[in-house]
């Protein structure tokens, strides 16, 4: 990528946008993991799959809330979708604007996450108006189709936030193609960690910790690869110092540190503890939880470093 000099001003996207980027990654990642566990996992993975779907919807609902609060005119949030100006009336769909695509993607993903959430509740035996209809309609192949479509949308929601930053003229953000893939890999890794953290709250979900740990190791490897691409492209563009200079190097150190345990397979899944192993089991759980927290902290640190370092 050629060297570029920037004369732009920062958009001042700070805490709400950070929260949105975080939740979008977790929601999309949780939904994908739920689908993979459901379609490719073993029967004992189904509790973890259901937990993933139950987590995905609340996380998704919070996304537009944060986005709306961050707007200068929150009551006009719907202008993202409906053209009320000189070119209207009509729907807004600016295909070159990731923010425009993201709004539609988030809405469509929200529909899938809601349908699957209702399906999980209904098949769990929770009764609500229309629950029998939902079980009938989504309990079979149609529900699986919703899962696949929702996973594709979830991957988009988790990754497009990085593209949104790149499609700008801001230093750092616009000097690399790697942010989309990096945010996606980080979101998936964080979602896996969140599932491991919350698994004890749903009976049987811990049985999938070994698989989730394996997946998280792979996601961490993917994140590491995109980090290398990020630093390489930024070095070529002459923006590396700005990104990793003081004080941001502390955050990048946390990011790298958070990748080590998943890469080393330290998300333990060895829950088959021998006789008298209750204490060992507890230690194992604490270790897994601590690793999961570290992964989530790394996920936050990476986004803070990317958002703040570019905006000065």
């Amino acid at each position: 990528m050629p060297l570029a000099v920037h004369y732009t001003q920062p958009p001042e996207w700070r805490w709400y946008i950070l929260g949105y980027f975080l939740l979008a990654g977790l929601a999309g990642g949780a939904y994908l993991l739920g689908t993979l566990l459901r379609l490719f996992g073993r029967p004992s993975d189904q509790p973890a799959s259901r937990l993933s779907f139950l987590l995905a919807l609340p996380l998704t609902i919070l996304c537009p809330v944060l986005l709306t609060i961050d707007l200068g005119q929150p009551s006009r949030f719907w202008h993202m979708m409906v053209d009320t100006g000189a070119l209207g009336p009509g729907l807004n769909f600016a295909y070159l604007s990731p923010m425009s695509l993201g709004v539609w993607g988030l809405a469509a993903f929200g529909v899938c996450a809601a349908l699957t959430f209702l399906e999980v509740l209904a098949t769990d035996g929770r009764s609500y108006p229309g629950s029998r209809l939902v079980t009938w309609a989504l309990g079979g192949w149609l529900g699986r189709i919703v899962n696949v479509v929702g996973s594709v949308l979830g991957l988009f929601v988790a990754g497009y936030t990085g593209v949104l930053l790149s499609v700008s003229n801001q230093p750092v953000w616009s000097d690399t193609y790697a942010l989309g893939g990096l945010f996606l890999a980080s979101g998936l890794s964080g979602a896996g960690a969140l599932l491991i953290l919350t698994a004890p709250w749903r009976r049987g979900a811990e049985a999938s910790e070994d698989g989730l740990a394996g997946a998280d190791g792979f996601f961490a490897l993917l994140e590491l690869a995109f980090l290398v691409v990020l630093f390489g492209t930024l070095a070529y563009a002459g923006q590396l110092t700005r990104t990793v200079g003081s004080p941001w190097f502390v955050l990048w150190a946390i990011v790298v540190l958070s990748l080590v345990p998943p890469l080393a397979g330290r998300f333990t899944s060895r829950l088959t503890v021998g006789s008298g192993g209750a204490a060992a089991l507890t230690n194992v759980r604490v270790s897994a939880a601590a690793t999961a927290v570290l992964v989530l902290v790394g996920m936050i640190a990476m986004r803070v470093a990317v958002l703040w370092s570019a905006q000065g």
């Binding site: 060297l3 570029a4 000099v5 004369y7 732009t8 001003q9 958009p11 001042e12 996207w13 993991l33 993979l36 566990l37 490719f40 073993r42 004992s44 509790p47 961050d70 707007l71 200068g72 005119q73 006009r76 202008h79 993202m80 053209d83 009320t84 100006g85 000189a86 807004n92 600016a94 604007s97 990731p98 497009y160 990085g162 593209v163 949104l164 930053l165 790149s166 499609v167 700008s168 003229n169 193609y177 790697a178 989309g180 893939g181 996606l184 998936l188 004890p200 009976r203 049987g204 811990e206 049985a207 070994d210 997946a215 792979f218 993917l222 995109f226 829950l271 088959t272 006789s275 759980r285």
Partner: protein
């Protein structure tokens, strides 16, 4: 559609009086920013933003301060009244998700204030740092090229008050001809660095607000070449990264989660002690 309008700002005759800044604020009812000492030559405006739609830059060009420099040769101390460029290929309009940024019948770039919802995506995209966010209105704001005055066949306020005709307003084609003549005149006088910026389509397809500069664009803080590119250049590459990451993540996830050996059932305990729920890996769902 009316004929394309624009500004031709001839920096060679700018005297830094800031009348343009004042007239702009007065007509557009902009409060400006609180006065501040910026320790930057005679500049106390700082930058273009939501409250400053014209900004006179004072550039003390040390590189030209030599023994041979004569007072008033237009190179040692550069002045330039900066403004929105009203780009033919506008980065701000390209990323705006609400279609609030449109081209008017005068071929200028205009932010519809009743449509903008203050997402600030245009601020991140504008390569000139022109657009600012107004806390007062909750929207993105910038020069409108006095759209209301144009609709009433009036000259924009800044051009109207410029005492040296540094800011010229008119039909774009007429301005381009005038700029060509002025450049030729300056070159004849020996100003070899004089150049037009945004007159042709090399910068964002051409600028409706273009400049005659006395030095390289970078000296004035203006992007050229690889620095003057549209945000959409990163669309394909960015989404390709997401696509690659998605494919690899799905493959990795399937490999990690595909039917693994079921965990062994817990061995029967000699004494029926209540086990922690977590040890019943593979147990039934709630």
């Amino acid at each position: 559609m009316a004929e394309a309008k624009g500004f031709f700002t001839d920096t060679s005759v700018c005297i830094g009086c800031k009348a343009c800044e004042v007239a702009c604020k007065e007509w557009n009812e902009l409060q400006g920013d609180p006065p501040a000492f910026l320790a930057d030559s005679f500049d106390n405006t700082g930058k273009l933003d939501a409250a400053n739609w014209r900004h006179v830059k004072f550039i003390e060009n040390d590189a030209h301060l030599t023994a041979s420099t004569t007072v008033g040769d237009g190179q040692a101390w550069l002045m330039m009244s900066d403004v929105c460029k009203h780009c033919q290929q506008a980065s701000c309009a390209q990323v705006c998700p609400t279609n609030a940024i449109v081209r008017t019948e005068f071929d200028t770039v205009f932010i519809q204030q009743d449509v903008c919802n203050g997402c600030r995506n245009c601020i991140s995209a504008c390569p000139f740092g022109v657009i600012g966010f107004s806390e007062q209105t909750g929207t993105a704001r910038k020069c409108t090229l006095c759209y209301d005055r144009l609709q009433n066949q009036m000259t924009p306020a800044c051009a109207k008050v410029c005492p040296t005709q540094s800011i010229q307003f008119g039909n774009l084609s007429d301005l381009q001809s005038a700029a060509d003549r002025r450049l030729a005149q300056l070159r004849q006088l020996g100003y070899s660095n004089a150049q037009l910026y945004g007159r042709d389509d090399t910068v964002y397809g051409g600028l409706n607000s273009f400049f005659l500069l006395m030095d390289k664009p970078a000296v004035y803080g203006l992007p050229t070449g690889e620095s003057a590119r549209l945000p959409s250049r990163n669309d394909v590459g960015g989404y390709l990264g997401v696509l690659i990451a998605s494919a690899l993540a799905v493959i990795g996830g399937i490999v990690a989660l595909r039917r693994r050996r079921e965990p062994a059932a817990p061995a029967p305990q000699p004494e029926p002690e209540p086990e922690p729920a977590a040890t019943t890996a593979g147990g039934g769902d709630r």
